[in-house]
């Protein structure tokens, strides 16, 4: 144990690109099939911050769902951070993830969250309006990311790590 570790859960609707983001950011210890069998896949990565500190993020990639069932609620237990992922090209996924956030906050009142609006590489097809994004930024950190190009991914994880450090 060289760095402090924090449990982070990744929530989002189907097809928003959660697994692609994990593949971009983490080492991918386990196969994707766990997402469809157990409903979760766990990976980890140590994030080094600009101020010299580091934090190990243990990321629970929870299979995409509209709502958290009992099993997923168990998976959330003990999490201190949330990575909320929505597809910028589908505004409905933003509503879903915000619903998931509300549900998670009822279980984890102190949890820190970061919102990732994915598929920045398809920004011309985005349904989420910039005004909506601006409005969201008042409530929580919002990052526009692209799992394909990697844009915004590292800063999003770094921001979450920074918020989780004591």
């Amino acid at each position: 144990m060289t760095a402090t570790a924090r449990k982070v859960c990744m929530l989002g609707d189907f097809g928003v690109g959660k697994s692609s983001l994990v593949a971009r950011f983490l080492r991918n210890t386990f196969d994707e099939k766990y997402l469809t069998t157990v409903g979760v896949k766990v990976d980890s990565r140590e994030v080094a911050l600009d101020d010299g500190r580091s934090l190990k993020l243990v990321l629970w990639d929870i299979a995409g769902k509209n709502a958290l069932d009992a099993l997923n609620q168990n998976y959330l237990r003990g999490a201190t951070g949330l990575l909320l992922v929505a597809d910028g090209t589908r505004e409905a996924t933003l509503r879903t993830v915000l619903g998931l956030l509300m549900q998670a906050r009822s279980l984890l009142p102190e949890v820190r969250a970061v919102l990732l609006l994915n598929k920045l590489d398809l920004v011309e097809r985005w349904e989420v309006a910039p005004s909506t994004v601006a409005e969201l930024r008042h409530a929580l950190p919002v990052f526009e990311t692209s799992a394909r190009t990697g844009d915004g991914v590292e800063p999003a994880f770094a921001e979450l790590a920074r918020s989780l450090l004591p």
Binding site: T4, V42, V58, A70, N74, G78, P109
Partner: protein, 580 residues
């Protein structure tokens, strides 16, 4: 009065209002307390609240157990049932495994050895069997925070590659949740994923209040290993007030405590070490000793007797072999009574070494009388024949007497001439001797000199002894001269050996001055032949007597003084080593 009330209100209203508020708060405390406790439990003072409540909660629980036992029983019933079932299942599984192994190993030498080890160590036989048969290795140990699934400590066998411990611990936790949820046990249920098996790999998950211990094993673990892991987990919970906080803060003492408690090698060794209970199963030692001591004495006595018997047989065998190997002995039977008597029967040549020589040196072991019963026999063994020849011939010290395998007696060295003469006469008669070789037997120097001097004297005397013949006669009647000549010749021939010379006699015939040579030559020859025949008739060997060709040997002085119508004898002395 109204002023008084107003004054009192002015003075005491704040106090009254505060008291009213306190009374209201007191009255509402039962309603507010749960919310306050929940807030405190979630807040920063959660630990303080837990410490404050620990004692009253424990006291309340004790009172409830004493006074409302049925309520407690009803509350615990859902927990006790599964716990008992789990314990029984574990015990039955262990019993079945142990019973099977015990049956498999009971009737083999190895099984008997393990039974002896179990008896000596006081351990159950099944445990000894498992300790010897099971091979197990701890590949990984994960101490996992129960709430978050985060790794608090990870230990691995030295030769294993690095892995993402946090991811694995997280997945383990997720799978545990998944299994529990799949079985509809609910988050607070006692059941959990306790073990899983894949081929030779085995996963154990041991749950604790704050952290779980997951062990990845390879092989078949000994039963004690699970208990060791449980104890390690319990120790960690007991020693660390809050291991999670301690580790998250990077506390070195927490990490050191984890590493010390979760050392895979130490846990493996502890699992296979025989447990030494404080009071092992009671053994009837005094009774066993009382039974074993006589048995031990009997065994020692039997071993001693066996060793003595072996030593005795070796002694008898050695004695027989020594007798058989000694020339002059013929051993036909050996009888013995251990540690009392040995009887050797057979035959012995009188010239063989005395049998008492076999008694020394005295061998170790018990005393015993040795009796020899030998009949006399004449041995033809060369050594004994030689000893017999020595006894009969009594050779002087410088004479070597030997007998070879062909029974040929060899006499070598220097000896008095008289002994040599006697030995030559007797040697061939020694029993067992087939031939005699005395070529290297010589008279000693002094004897030889004396013999040669005597020969010279005899030759001188012979030169003066002549047998006279009548004129023209070839026969004589001079018996005195003939006897004297024969006596000296006999003596001279006897001195040949001691003198180391070959002695022959040269016989000369003579004639007077009358007559011519044609008449005298046959006359001389006839007179010499007459003397030779007379000497042969007197017993002298004919081969030692030869005719001289002329009178050259006759000393002139003698020829001048003695009548020439005669015959006489002179000695021819030649070195014995210079034979033609």
């Amino acid at each position: 009065m109204a002023e008084f009330e107003r004054l009192r209100a002015l003075l005491l209203d704040p106090e009254r209002q505060r008291l009213d508020a306190l009374e209201a708060a007191r009255d509402g405390l039962p309603q507010a307390l749960p919310a306050a406790l929940e807030a405190a439990a979630r807040g920063a003072d959660a630990e303080r609240l837990a410490r404050a409540l620990a004692e009253p909660v424990a006291g309340a629980l004790g009172s409830a157990v004493r006074e409302q036992r049925q309520t407690i029983v009803d509350a615990l019933f859902p927990i006790i049932g599964p716990a008992i079932r789990k314990a029984i299942a574990e015990a039955l599984r262990d019993f079945t495994e142990g019973f099977n192994r015990a049956l498999e190993s009971s009737l083999t030498p190895r099984g008997l050895r393990w039974r002896l080890e179990a008896w000596r160590s006081g351990l159950p036989y099944a445990q000894v069997v498992l300790r010897h048969t099971l091979r197990c290795r701890i590949d990984h140990l994960f101490l996992i925070e129960r709430e978050t699934g985060l790794v608090l400590h990870h230990a691995a066998a030295p030769d294993l590659p690095d892995l993402d411990a946090d991811a694995i611990a997280g997945m383990l936790t997720a799978i545990g949740d998944f299994v529990r949820d799949s079985l509809r046990l609910g988050g607070g249920a006692a059941g959990s994923l306790a073990s899983a098996t894949v081929g030779e790999h085995l996963l154990w998950v041991i749950e604790g209040p704050r952290a779980n211990l997951a062990a990845f094993l390879r092989g078949v673990p000994p039963p004690a290993l699970h208990a060791q892991l449980e104890q390690a987990l319990e120790r960690l919970h007991a020693e660390l007030d809050n291991p999670l906080q301690g580790l998250q803060a990077g506390a070195a003492d927490a990490g050191a405590a984890f590493a010390a408690a979760l050392d895979p090698g130490a846990l493996e060794r502890a699992a296979v070490q025989p447990e030494r209970p404080g009071r092992g199963p009671s053994r009837p030692w005094p009774l066993l000793l009382a039974l074993l001591l006589p048995l031990l004495l009997v065994l020692v006595w039997a071993a001693w007797r066996g060793r003595e018997a072996q030593r005795w047989q070796a002694r008898v065998q050695s004695l027989g072999e020594r007798v058989r190997a000694t020339p002059g002995y013929l051993l036909t039977a050996v009888e013995d009574i251990p540690c009392r008597e040995i009887v050797l029967r057979g035959a012995r040549d009188p010239d063989a070494p005395p049998p008492e020589g076999f008694l020394a040196p005295r061998p170790p072991g018990c005393e015993a009388a040795v009796r020899f019963e030998f009949q006399p026999v004449l041995s033809l063994a060369p050594a004994i024949v030689a000893a017999r020849a020595r006894r009969l011939l009594a050779p002087p010290p410088r004479v070597v007497v030997e007998v070879d395998a062909a029974a040929r007696l060899s006499l070598r060295g220097a000896a008095p001439a008289a002994w040599i003469a006697a030995a030559r006469a007797q040697a061939a008669w020694v029993p067992g001797v087939s031939s005699v070789d005395d070529a290297d037997l010589h008279a000693s120097d002094a004897a030889r000199g004396a013999a040669r001097a005597e020969l010279a004297r005899l030759d001188g005397e012979l030169a003066g002894l002549r047998v006279a013949f009548a004129p023209g006669g070839t026969g004589a009647d001079d018996s005195a001269a003939l006897v004297a000549i024969a006596e000296r010749l006999r003596r001279a021939l006897a001195l040949a050996g001691p003198a180391g010379l070959q002695v022959r006699a040269a016989i000369h015939g003579g004639n007077d001055a009358s007559g011519n040579e044609a008449v005298n030559a046959p006359l001389r020859r006839a007179r010499a032949e007459w003397l030779r025949a007379a000497l042969v008739q007197a017993g002298l060997p004919a081969e030692a007597l030869q005719f001289a060709t002329d009178d050259a040997l006759v000393p002139p002085t003698a020829a001048a003084t003695l009548p020439q119508r005669s015959a006489h004898v002179r000695l021819i002395l030649e070195d014995a080593d210079a034979k033609p």
